[in-house]
Amino acid sequence: MALTIISLMKQVPLPSEMRMGEDGLMDRTKAKSIINIDCSFALEAGLQLKKEHPDAKLIVCSMGPPSFEVSLKKALAMGYDEAYLLSDRKLGGSDTYATGLALSKLLEHLGFSKKSKEPFVIVAGRQTSDGDTAHVPSQVAENMGIPQATFIETLESDGEHIVAKRIIEGGYQMMRLPMPCALSLTPTGIPPRRPNLKGAMRARHQKITVFNVDDIGIDHSKIGLSGSPTIVAKVTNIVSDRAPVMMSEGGDAKTLVSDLITNIESGKTSLETKEKKAAKAKKRPDFPEVDFRQGARGILTWAEIAEGEIIRPSLELLTPARELANALGNETKVMTLLIGDHVDALAQTLIEYGSDEVIVVNDKRLKEYLVLPFATIFPISLPILIRKLLFLLQPRQDVNWHRVLV
């Protein structure tokens, strides 16, 4: 049984040259492009797997404009055997949901599905530097109905299973997944190789197969803007409300340190914070709002535990949750799910940090975080919350949370 390694890859603008356009969308036209960093680690993970399985076939797939061919060529130069690009104007404006769907359709078109007789593994970058959602690998796995693992650093295979090293709070998890499966890779594993000249010469003569949406038979209404449930209400530039401060200046360690000391002593490094601006009047978004809540309201957070303690992001999360609850008014509650073994005592901490109710699930078998058992607890506990779910905030998404009206 020959193994196929499928790498999902995206080309992104060089982060240092990325600009936001007038319309709030990323302006990708001016910047130089590179392979998304996380994706380049996934490409390398695939090549590493091939070292152990020399007869494995390496395939790289991407969705994007024809300019993506540059990066696909690079993947071929690194050692990939085949490259496929799904490219169609109709895909413009697709969000992660539509992208995940389109990519899984592309794979299906190439003959890969849950029912495939031959084993395959999908490796993808954890997230892209121009989207930062980390949704797509999971969406692809869900659409295909195959197991997935995220935050993977390295992987191995015995031909039937994938053993993957997953980063978790405070350490690693070793996961064993049956094939086919999908993995998303962090940029902390083995750095991508530089292609050698021979690889580049081979790539020069290799063909990239380009498909449009009709080639892979995907319903037009499911892609592009019409297939994308995400609405970006607004994008703002973050403007720091304090002036930058030069901590110290100099060409070598000695001047740097002495400059720092002088600056501290003269008070030059103390930060000036402006008065907090008065809370601005709330502006309603300029698209129609539909309230599906039918009176039920509440915010659900999950408190992650590592080595017997609640991890910091889970506590930090309660601040925006609290603010949001207050803003929504009408006695909106913040509820927190606490899962583990003998964790009752931690509930108090969560209340102190802003939670209104804590739902504790205690079991010896839940001492360590495990994806499936934990994931099943969520829906099971939902009835307890009596459909009070409004917002689901996950501690990992500590940067941007999307406004989703449920």
């Binding site: 190789r193 000249l197 010469m201």
Partner: protein, 560 residues
């Protein structure tokens, strides 16, 4: 060194004509050879390997171009589409004093620029690369050639650099063996002080009996200035301040470009004596001269870079070929002094090498005898014509400007020869520095004490400057700058000369660290390097060797 084995040939490729370096010399060779093959309905393969991330990433020049050579290289349509910036309209030379300037009423001999074009040589090379590819030449950028492949003592190709090793050279999981390229003829077009060309000179004693090559370092900045400051097509050259006419040879250039851009720089001969002389800082001092400061006021720095240029001229030109290889362009030391123009000679030498290579391949004689036609073609070309007459120009100035001007005046009358002394010798740049204890002049820092505080508007410290070169290096590799003998370096370079590399390096690569006990060691920040090669040239007692880092590393120039 690779003594030819084809045992592990899984990673070996072959081509007929191989060219190392996609500068004007290498690209001209590729284009002309492709044309010649086509004329003969021959489909031989030409391959070009370039270490810059893209063609042009490592190209830095003035540049005022004499266009005849490009006209010979290209067809009419291609020539007219060359991305020149602007034609020279104004051409003036100034003698600077600390705050004054005096316009020279006429041009220095050999410095007339009427009809020449100002250009970004990087942009020209990118364009030439598309013309070469359209002719079927395969150009691979982002690959560093770091070894020559010999068989029975003869060059038979090269090897690209292994990647994926740690600081000690130990293979990492992403190790990729470099590829061996076998070629019937290899043309080395690596530019100034090519690292492979240096190996060839030694191995085949190509420079035996010649004057040692001497160099200048050129620091260049590209600025955007407010409308109306300088017309596109304006050339100003300066000499004098901040250089001392008796000690430092060189001068400044200011070229007005389209869209209110200005290219400016300072070029200084590396045969100076003060071990603390800092050319980057000298350029910052030069910019504070009112003539230049007024021009740049409220403008902004766009790019920064530095590169050396060979200046020895005709008498330092090595033998340029041997069995299976030729050397072209700056690697061959081809530059027309005193105007510092090298592009047209690079192109011409590339074309001469291409003509020679094509005939040699057809005749199946790529031996030294088969390639000797290259030297004949060069002798019959503008290269000889332009270099021979000024063969004694640069050496004349090794004793200072006044003496130089006198000697050069005589040479102008005597068609380049020195009636009383015979041809003049050069001294290698690494030997002209004086130890700290012997140097009697005012050290650099004292000379310009008031002008060395950089305001980050008009003037910049080195680290900030390097940022504008976009230099980057993978840290996971054997550092490409090597101290040849640590003990000797400590004793001579640090002990006697006070580590001049910390001053002459234009990219803050070298830092002299003094610990609590007063013990001095050199720290190397190789990731800053802009590949100018000064350290390889100027370090006393052959202190430092520059070798190629991973392909694609180094600066990433846009419009230099």
């Amino acid at each position: 060194m690779l003594e030819g084995d084809l045992m592990s040939d899984s990673n070996t490729v072959r081509t007929d004509l191989l060219i190392i370096g996609a500068g004007p010399a290498g690209l001209a060779a590729a284009i002309h050879a492709a044309d010649r093959f086509k004329d003969n309905a021959d489909s031989r393969k030409i391959m070009v390997i370039e270490k810059g991330k893209e063609v042009g990433s490592h190209i830095l020049s003035g540049a005022v171009l004499k266009t005849e050579a490009l006209r010979e290289l290209l067809n009419d349509e291609e020539f007219h589409a060359l991305p020149f910036d602007s034609e020279v309209m104004v051409d003036e030379t100034f003698k600077l004093s600390e705050s004054g300037s005096l316009k020279l009423p006429m041009h220095l001999p050999y410095m007339n620029n009427a009809g020449n074009q100002i250009a970004s040589l990087g942009a020209i090379c990118r364009y030439l690369a598309t013309l070469a590819e359209a002719r079927g030449v395969e150009i691979y950028s982002g690959f560093a050639v770091d070894d020559i492949w010999y068989e029975e003592g003869k060059v038979v190709g090269v090897k690209t650099k292994d990647t994926g090793v740690d600081h000690q050279g130990k293979r990492l999981k992403n190790f990729q063996e470099g590829t061996k390229v076998r070629a019937d003829i290899t043309i080395f077009a690596e530019g100034s002080h090519g690292s492979l060309a240096q190996k060839l000179l030694k191995r085949f004693d190509l420079d035996g009996g010649k004057n040692p090559q001497i160099y200048s370092l050129g620091i260049k900045e590209l600025w955007s200035v407010p409308q109306g400051r300088i017309e596109a097509g304006t050339l100003y050259h300066t000499f004098g301040y901040p250089l001392r006419s008796d000690e430092e040879f060189g001068g400044g250039f200011i070229y007005g470009l389209q869209d209110n851009k200005v290219a400016l720089g300072l070029v200084v001969g590396l045969d100076y004596a003060d071990p603390t002389f800092d050319i980057h800082a000298a350029m910052q001092v030069w910019k504070q001269h009112p003539k230049i400061a007024d021009l740049l006021k409220d403008g902004s720095l766009m790019e920064y870079g530095a590169k050396t240029l060979p200046e020895g001229g005709y008498l330092s030109m090595p033998k340029l070929y041997d069995d299976n290889f030729m050397i072209v362009g700056y690697s061959a030391g081809l530059v027309a002094m005193p105007a510092l123009k090298g592009v047209h000679l690079a192109v011409t030498s590339g074309m001469c090498a291409a003509k020679t290579a094509v005939v040699a391949l057809f005749k199946k004689d790529t031996t030294s005898a088969g390639l000797s036609r290259y030297a004949e073609l060069i002798e019959a070309s503008r290269i000889h014509e332009e270099l021979y007459a000024v063969r004694n120009f640069r050496q004349s100035f090794q004793g200072g400007l006044f003496q130089g001007a006198m000697k050069f005046g005589v040479q102008l009358l005597s068609r380049g020869s020195c009636p009383f002394s015979g041809d003049l010798k050069t001294e290698p740049d690494e030997t002209t520095l004086q130890p700290l204890s012997e140097y009697r002049g005012v050290p650099f820092k004292e000379r310009f004490a008031e002008k060395l505080h950089f305001d980050k508007k008009l003037t910049f410290d080195k680290v900030t400057s390097v940022f504008y070169s976009k230099a980057m290096h993978d840290e996971e590799q054997v550092p490409h700058l090597h101290i040849n003998d640590l003990e000797r370096f400590k004793r001579i370079n640090i002990g006697q000369y006070g580590a001049p590399c910390q001053y002459f390096c234009p990219a803050e690569v070298y830092e002299l660290h003094v610990d609590k006990e007063g013990d001095k060691t050199l720290r190397i920040h190789a990731e800053n390097c802009v590949h100018c090669k000064t350290c390889d040239i100027k370090s006393p007692a052959n202190g430092i060797t520059w070798s190629v880092p991973y392909g694609g590393d180094g600066p990433d120039y846009d419009y230099m």
